[in-house]
Amino acid sequence: VTWLGDHLGEVLSLAVEHTYLAGMPLILGLLIALPLGWLARRYKALYPILIIGTGLLYTIPSLALFIMLPTLLGTKILDPANVVIAMTIYTVALLVRTVADGLGAVPEAVNQSATAMGYKRGRRFVSVELPLAVPVISAGLRVAAVSNVSIVSVAALIGVQQLGSLFTDGFNRAFMEPIIVGVVACVLLALIFDAVILGLTRMATPWQRAGTAPS
């Protein structure tokens, strides 16, 4: 506890770095997964290709991906961009399936009603299908968020500073406190991400609460 008191500022700045490295890929990954998931839904033949393809990307262990990316992209090994790109790849891998399945769960009758009311395909997607798919997509996003927070800490091994650096620093000095603080901070950060996504989902799906007015 005294260790944390002395190093609070350092831990907080690492946590900010960690939030960026885990959070930015969630936004980028969602932006990439939405059109891919839509494509997988729209063209049935693409579904297995996209799901298997992204599934294969997800099997690559994180440390291996962090190390391979600089060679493939020509970036510097210490560049945090490698971590952001790697985490975006994982996020997309998890989300394409969720987005496709979420859009698939929209009742056909709803889609047909929207079409009958004059919605063109693009507008129907944005204002009918996507909002209805939000609960499913949000469930996938929560899984991605929590696993991102955890995986980002591995980047400490390639020297990118974030909460995982507490693990390697603590280990190198045979000192448990920083590691414990780091683990707790990672779990807390994961909980915060989870709570934020849940909150945003509630805001985006007001109809889900319509039936449960306080009695």
Partner: protein, 249 residues
């Protein structure tokens, strides 16, 4: 750089000897296999029991959620510092690292086995009871075969997690393919580091493909619809929802 990596990988000298690729590959597979088998021996019976009886559901759901949030690198390093001094020699690294690998492999298998049994069509279960099967017979002859797709995806998830974490375990002196990554980083030997990364990625892909094939052939064709020539009624072609793969390393 890609040429230098290819040169490193195709140099026969790098494949032989005490720290050659062949030996490291066998080590990596051995650690992973032992960890996944031990985890499966613990998690499958437990998951089946919880799924069959419905007791302790709350436990599974929470363990699976919490396990995803715990960073495996932190857990690994903490285990070595904490448990390492209680052993001597090589065991000081092997035992805590092995323990962490097992601990990380249990939740995905547990939730797969539990969700698989839980998700069995109640009509199928009732029909089995109606035919006079007892609890254990229902479990063995109906629930387990129906749960196999999810049990297998739990095992696949766990294997990925273990292969990834075993790579990281090279930091604490464990063998396996992670050695090339960690040692290469330490001496700034980029071709070695990247070669190690490629080997680990290929290993993970091959193991997952093998398990996917195993899954294809152990799951009853009544469930997968393989060999079925008559189009099924389910126009969507929807299959049982597979739980999302998940890793923390």
């Amino acid at each position: 750089m890609i040429n230098r990596v290819l040169a490193w990988l195709t140099d026969p000298a790098h494949w032989q000897g005490y720290d050659g690729i062949s030996r490291r590959l066998v080590e990596h597979l051995a650690y992973s296999l032992v960890a996944v088998v031990i985890a499966a021996l613990i998690a499958i019976p437990l998951g089946l029991y919880i799924g069959h009886t419905g007791r302790g559901r709350f436990l599974v759901v929470n363990i699976a959620g919490a396990a995803r949030a715990i960073p495996s690198l932190g857990l690994l390093l903490l285990a070595i510092l904490w448990l390492g001094p209680k052993f001597s020699g090589d065991v000081a690294f092997l035992a805590p690292a092995g323990l962490v690998l097992v601990v990380l492999a249990v939740p995905p298998i547990l939730s797969g086995a539990y969700a698989g049994v839980e998700g069995v069509d109640p009509d199928a279960r009732d029909a089995a009871k109606g035919m006079g099967m007892r609890g254990t017979q229902v479990l063995r002859n109906v629930e387990v075969p129906c749960a196999l797709p999810l049990i297998m995806s739990g095992i696949r998830s766990a294997s990925l997690q273990v292969i990834a974490t075993a790579t990281i375990a090279a930091v604490v002196g464990l063998g396996g393919l992670g050695r090339f990554l960690i040692d290469g980083l330490a001496v700034r030997d980029t071709p070695q580091t990247v070669s190690g990364a490629v080997l680990v990625a290929v290993l993970a892909l091959i193991v997952d493909l093998i398990l996917a094939c195993v899954q294809r052939y152990v799951v009853s064709r009544g469930l997968t619809g393989r060999y079925v020539t008559v189009p099924t009624l389910d126009a969507d072609g929807a299959t049982a929802p597979a739980p999302a793969l998940q890793r923390s390393a």
